[in-house]
Amino acid sequence: MAEYLIQTVGLPGWLTWSLLAVLSAVLILNLMAGGALVFIWAERKVSARIQDRLGPTRTGGSFGWLQSLADGIKLLAKEDLMPEGADGMLFRVAPYVSFCASFAAFIGLPFAFDMVGLRLNVGVFYVVAVLGLEVFGVILAGYASASKWSLFGAMREAAQVVSYEVPLGMCIVVPVMLAGTMDLVTIAEKQAGWFTNWYLFHDPFTFVVFWVYVTCAVASVNRAPFDLAEAESELVAGFHTEYSGLRWSFFFMAEYSSMFLVSGLAAVLFLGGWNGPVPIATLLGLSDGTGESTGAIVRLLGLANLLGKATLGVLIMMWIRWTLPRLRIDQVMTTCLKYCTPIAAVMFAGAMTWLWVFPGGVLNLDDGSRRPGEIREGWLEGPGGRSTAVSDAPVDDAPALAEIAEVSK
């Protein structure tokens, strides 16, 4: 698109890039806002169906599909209250901190091959790091509200999220290790083909790691049974007790966006990203299986694939929420420190061993994929088989490094 704009339309380069940046930002914002609307509606419908109710039925026609929009308008019209004694600046800023963290994390998440705000070669790391910033908003909100319940919620959230980042990180390292890169696009690319290529089915260890990831992801986005920060039966509403109106809804948008984000991350890391279980496009001859060669239609198909997987993840989170009671704070910490972390660590070591014993994978039907070791060799030897990439004078390093970058994908 950029080439098209620059070459065909003749726009200046800087304007093109600015436009594209704005476009990406707007798309992500819309995804977050629209996603939150849809998911809040879905949450209502799902919970209603689970609980033998109907949920919203009238707003907007048959399924109450405009309900969240109507709620949004109501929230816009609501008064933004601030408790007396609150730290005004932090109280106002906190929801936006949460929201911005969530938004910034989306920049690194690919939706289809190269449909990504910014393709970072430390993509996974970036997404996890930025997502962790969301907790700041919560803690600031809890502190600035000048309410004891809010403070309790904030403290719980801090303890919980910081702890769960450890096993979460360990789970994420496993697919990174299998793919040999932290670039999310490449990680998903490597799982192309049949669903047996997904890292979920790579070996028994990754299968277990996936479920540990799910647990940690649910905990790190504060969903039941780990929703201690807003436990309504204990802390009234936890950190957002004192919030109302639009600021309150920003917390919710951040929450639902984070849910979507961790589900999307799970899809990319373990479930093949935008690659469907069956490589339809390849079978039909529309694509040769690599992302670069696919046309717009196939990419859109991939987009639908990823969105579908992520949505499924969110729906499963809802299902869990409406089924299980809430854990207690000490039990949450026990789950993290005594179960998730050791299991993740052992599975990490196991996956590493597996990779060493079966370098090509066992279920791997597609021989096109590389084992991680080759990448490192590629670094050393370069595609031409010479042990050059390194030894070439840095003056003409550019092409060599570009080659290396190619190889490592």
């Binding site: 698109m1 950029a2 080439e3 098209y4 200046p12 380069g13 800087w14 304007l15 890039w17 600015s18 594209l20 940046a21 990406s24 798309l27 730290d87 932090l90 800023v93 091959f113 190269d114 990504v116 705000g117 910014l118 393709r119 070669n121 430390v122 790391f125 970036y126 996890v128 790091a129 930025v130 962790g132 910033l133 907790v135 700041f136 803690i139 600031l140 502190y143 600035a144 000048a146 403290m155 801090a158 910081v162 980042e165 890169t181 932290m182 490192r376 670094w379 050393l380 042990s387 990439a389 390194v390 030894s391 840095p394 390093d397 550019a398 490094l401 570009a402 290396i404 970058a405 490592s408």
Partner: protein
């Protein structure tokens, strides 16, 4: 969106036309980092200080991204999130006897510190501008800019740890001789740091170990009135 969105960064860096986006973002992040750092000094409330500090560190991470050190930037975000988060919580915990307590600094001290700091800053900036080689720009320096985004930044780092350098031994002026590729690298320092971290954690846990103490019974607040007197 096309695949070339991925190449946003280098293009930002090598400005075409009138607007230099790299410069713009540098200015943005630099201003944010500096102003928020000053805000840390000026704020009296610990929690606000921590908040400004986090934003300042975040803006610095942005600077790292702009400088092509993506891994370091992400690391900065990740570790400082944890680190300053704990700071923040301690700020809340240790000063929350009454809400929003602050330990004030006398104005005299502030002025004095400002003078000394200003002098230090002047010297440092003088030094920063004095090296002619440092003010050279990327464009003059060669093709480095175009490399920035396409090139994985984490892998070379990891390989440098084990002693394999893709960038050559720039520091010593050698250009990576064919034979002497594998050197000791940073593996040993890395291990030392990890052991150090462990020791530090154990030590910190020991320092902050639990003590038995009889509770003071609160500030004499009476439950029958719910503390509302």
């Amino acid at each position: 969106m096309s695949s070339s969105v991925a190449q946003l960064l280098p293009v930002l860096a090598a400005a075409e036309g009138g607007l230099n986006w790299h410069g713009f973002f540098f200015l943005l992040f630099a201003l944010l980092a500096c102003c928020l750092a000053v805000a840390v000094v000026l704020a009296d409330n610990v929690v606000r200080m921590a908040f400004y500090l986090v934003l300042s560190l975040g803006a610095t991470a942005g600077l790292f991204f702009l400088a092509g050190a993506e891994f370091v930037g992400a690391m900065q975000l990740m570790i400082y999130v944890g680190g300053t988060l704990v700071l923040l919580i301690f700020g809340v915990m240790l000063t929350a006897q009454e809400p929003f307590v602050s330990i004030k600094t006398p104005v005299r001290d502030k002025v004095l510190a400002g003078l000394v700091g200003g002098a230090l800053l002047a010297v440092l900036i003088q030094a920063a501008l004095s090296g002619p080689a440092w003010s050279g720009s990327a464009a003059e320096g060669g093709g480095g800019v175009a490399l920035a985004a396409g090139q994985p930044s984490a892998t070379p780092l990891g390989m440098a740890l084990v002693g394999i350098r893709v960038d050559g031994d720039v520091a010593s002026g050698e250009k990576s001789p064919e034979d002497g590729q594998v050197r000791s690298g940073y593996l040993l320092p890395f291990e030392i740091v990890s052991v150090h971290l462990l020791v530090v954690l154990v030590g910190a846990a020991y320092l902050a170990r639990s003590k038995r103490r009889k509770s003071s019974g609160g500030q004499g607040a009476d439950l029958s009135t719910g503390g509302m007197r």
